[in-house]
Symmetry: D2
Subunit: 347 residues, 4 copies
Amino acid sequence: MVIVMDRQATEEQIAAVTEKVHALGRKVHRSDGEGSIVLGVVGEGANLEPSDFLVMDGVNDAIRISSPFKLASRTFQREDTIVDVDGVKIGGDEVIVMAGPCSVESEEQIFACAEAVAKAGGRILRGGAYKPRTSPYSFQGLGVEGLKLLRAAGDKYGLKVVTEVMAIEQIDEISEWADMFQVGARNMQNFNLLRALGEHKDHKPVLLKRGIAATIQEWLMSAEYILAGGTKGVVLCERGIRSYDNQTRNILDLSAVPVIKKLSHLPIVADPSHGTGIRQYVADLARASVAVGADGLMVEVHNNPDKALSDGAQSLYPEQFDTLMKRCRVIATVLGRNIAPGKDDAA
Amino acid sequence: MVIVMDRQATEEQIAAVTEKVHALGRKVHRSDGEGSIVLGVVGEGANLEPSDFLVMDGVNDAIRISSPFKLASRTFQREDTIVDVDGVKIGGDEVIVMAGPCSVESEEQIFACAEAVAKAGGRILRGGAYKPRTSPYSFQGLGVEGLKLLRAAGDKYGLKVVTEVMAIEQIDEISEWADMFQVGARNMQNFNLLRALGEHKDHKPVLLKRGIAATIQEWLMSAEYILAGGTKGVVLCERGIRSYDNQTRNILDLSAVPVIKKLSHLPIVADPSHGTGIRQYVADLARASVAVGADGLMVEVHNNPDKALSDGAQSLYPEQFDTLMKRCRVIATVLGRNIAPGKDDAA
Amino acid sequence: MVIVMDRQATEEQIAAVTEKVHALGRKVHRSDGEGSIVLGVVGEGANLEPSDFLVMDGVNDAIRISSPFKLASRTFQREDTIVDVDGVKIGGDEVIVMAGPCSVESEEQIFACAEAVAKAGGRILRGGAYKPRTSPYSFQGLGVEGLKLLRAAGDKYGLKVVTEVMAIEQIDEISEWADMFQVGARNMQNFNLLRALGEHKDHKPVLLKRGIAATIQEWLMSAEYILAGGTKGVVLCERGIRSYDNQTRNILDLSAVPVIKKLSHLPIVADPSHGTGIRQYVADLARASVAVGADGLMVEVHNNPDKALSDGAQSLYPEQFDTLMKRCRVIATVLGRNIAPGKDDAA
Amino acid sequence: MVIVMDRQATEEQIAAVTEKVHALGRKVHRSDGEGSIVLGVVGEGANLEPSDFLVMDGVNDAIRISSPFKLASRTFQREDTIVDVDGVKIGGDEVIVMAGPCSVESEEQIFACAEAVAKAGGRILRGGAYKPRTSPYSFQGLGVEGLKLLRAAGDKYGLKVVTEVMAIEQIDEISEWADMFQVGARNMQNFNLLRALGEHKDHKPVLLKRGIAATIQEWLMSAEYILAGGTKGVVLCERGIRSYDNQTRNILDLSAVPVIKKLSHLPIVADPSHGTGIRQYVADLARASVAVGADGLMVEVHNNPDKALSDGAQSLYPEQFDTLMKRCRVIATVLGRNIAPGKDDAA
């Protein structure tokens, strides 16, 4: 931390700050000049809070210079983490596409979706069994029946399976049926849930969505909660942040992709379906996501979007998804990467 | 809902929309003119989703015209709800002040804080036993020991007690010791927690903080989750929203107070401590909160802020809190309201 | 400036940064520790740009520690500036109320408005002659005829006069008729206009509105442009910032008032009319503005809001304005300030 | 417009609203049902303001259903506008790249930049002669000398030329030397400037940057100001919007590209340099911009970024720009588009 004293700070004020730093087991390096006196705090020890110094007399500013996250930091681990979802590797050369409906609605529906996803080259099937709905009066998901259908559909079409966990009580059950947990944007700072996922005995990988107005640092701190529990496989998912305009449901922040790559070793995927909320724009932003360097996509695809029980308006038709995949495959090559071939892409 | 068709929409497209409305049990009133055709949807029934129509061909816009929340709505209940916290009434003529430290740290600390709060005219003691900390390496609270100390301190000084609940597993325990649950900003859309609080057998009142970037409608939808479970006592708490500037921790949105009063019958209080994050600004925004018409304040007060284990930088010294209370008392009278007298305010 | 090197930065990288600092006429103080090496830049000289160092190899962060504005800074001038608008003093004990219609529309209208403003205790009459309208098809103002009417109405009722300037070409003309220039939110960074106002021979005071998404630092930098030209009388006006919710037109950021008081010596007033955009909420936020410590208010009042050519929906009726003034007068006393009495407030 | 009455609105209140609509030359279609009464306003006429009805008794909501812009609207003109910049066509199959330094600094510098831009396949040279700087103490541009150098450099290397106009007084002069005007983000709502550009006798094309927190509708309204004056060639430029995070200077809103394509016939380009503010991220976002469907790019390139007088930290080295162009060329083909070949791309 660096503490900037006012240029009219008294020696007593400087001494008080210095004493507080010493009490916390650190040392102070003092530099006078440029219209202010700067106290550099040096030495190892517990985290210091800038705000604790900001309120002291004579202090103009207190600035943290080391990042508050450790396990998630690129400084801590230089090489990229590759997350293994039961054999499907996220963070390597292959751009992994996860797709499927918002909610599991019926056997017929989830099997039709899974077939479409597998046919176009998707690797992981998504689908909600427990749904976080803004309204208590909306469809809340099929629960464990949904989990079983999702698993069966994934198995039949050779896809891994990811689904959302909303509460600690659901962890054991979901771990039984799914290959990867998804933590939704609304639970990004549900710290009890994050800690329980990190410490769960199965240590299954977690897809951590960015909160609706989370800073990148807060997002990485949430990843830190999971990592601190022992689970190594955390994949970040950019899904759009809140803006002042209402032309799209959210603003997909694609600059988050290279920023995360700089600050962290964790893989990051993008979700253009929630990022825009409007079917017509999903493919455009999916291409942009691959072009910017995302390690994967999460896309909502439904065999019959007009009848979907949730998020129908942002779900792609299977044909649209297939076109999207073909185009993204070319874009991936520009970055020296690849996307798994579709079933009818001949050898 | 109102559906706006493109002026070049074909009769087939209009028919398709009309048919979909009929399939959902509603009727359509059609108005032609002003460069577009407007289809008004009439009749009672389940909620319609604008986005389901937005994606249909020929549709330019689909606009919800009735609010998605019911029990929380002023249309549903005209008269103000007054929430009873074991005898202390929030939402009436008295402006209720809740104050205390961020976290319960020790017996000595919480008793000293409680004494200061009671002396200045506060009615409810706040203090965290389970803390939502951004970093897994920060102090996480004393747990049940903290709850017991909070209760004892409140009882000794004649204060009611409010504390944060972070997980379903904590509800029974907190209900045993506290008079009111607090749901933090990070959990405003932790729907499982909200539902469990609403359905809990004790039906104790809930202080629901606004999420960091929650719209007022989303906030009221979260209140709806609690109300739908049977708990009637929901108090909203404006605690600052995220902005693009970093001069303060958040922006306290005081316009939320009259907006909530218009849309809902629920009481609303303001938290200038989290709203600014900086001690020096807390009293200014506390006065403004009372002036704008808030039903109460939540303020962080600590007997020794410089040694606080959390949020010290935004906690007031007891003397500052006392001055704040004296000034707010005068402002309250402008609105025909009152704040309980301090212990040394002679008869 | 403080430059934070990566803990794995090489000595060559540190030398390159040091050399660049020396080339700019400054010196470097180096502190090793806490997992990083900190280079403090000391000595006087031209402004350094953090971004110029951020891109150098081995640099993790570069942080400006002195404020980029000088003349507007509290460090530069400790005592409050009191702006003299032809005898009316803004920034002292009296809270100054500026009120009037959005636009000057006719002789009858502006005289009726001026009478209502004066009667209730307002000191400065506002009214637009040149209007910044989002649509080219909306009413654009009466121009110089409007200025003359505004002046005449102000003179008749003993009010000073403020009006918006939108272009350099209008400065001479407006200076002839008005006592104070207003720069609108949309022109807060129209630097050519700011410079021309600062350098204008009459050096009339300027009311500088905050841009719709301006940081407080950017706002003060815009004030700096005016001050740098020689005009000393700059009054800042908080008028609401953009948010993600649409319940109000903007969010009035009342924390800006104490923040400005800390960073700058310039007076600051608040505009609850644009801050909310809805008549029903204006009085609530006006009271809050006085309570938070604003040096004045700017309020839209119209003798017949339902017929107003612009902003009718946020304009107060004269009776509403009168009630607002009476209530704010009491609140001002809490802060040891006063508001001029209304005409029928007996001695 | 659609006006939603409260379900408890009286017939008198409904009559008052109806009368006001009639007074404005429109008719009302009434639909009763769904807990509210909806009044559809039909007929042609002047723009109605929702806020004028919102304040009437018994009115719950008033919603504009036709867009407030006309000439810029896709409804007004179905086919894409192709803007001709002295022979270079923006909005067709070719993705047009505009590049060059932030400011023109010297003959040597601008010729070196122009050479690099032309060599890599750029078509238009950018460079500021008049600079909008946040600080009055920063480099403000070379003025007319800069314009002449820019023109000469463009001519030598076969590039068209675009430069920023900040004030009405500069229009004639810039029109003499440049092929296209640029309006910066800070002047997006400087309506006097927009009107003057639209009405200028040369009717040269205008590149209109999006304001830092402008909605897409406000942006199109600003385009409308220019179009209303008779200038047909308006190109929109997405350059990043303000967000709450500070990891990048702005958030490049790439969803704006398909949204503009839907709402308007005007071409849109993206500026990843200002969109991120950090050199390291520019190429990533440039690729994403082409992938999402932008009609062009604006990129800052400098022959010696470390010595640049402004924006050096976000300017690319010529080699980086060349690599970016090669990669974008492949991505463009995915969309059936092309980018002009570089000089050393053999036949």
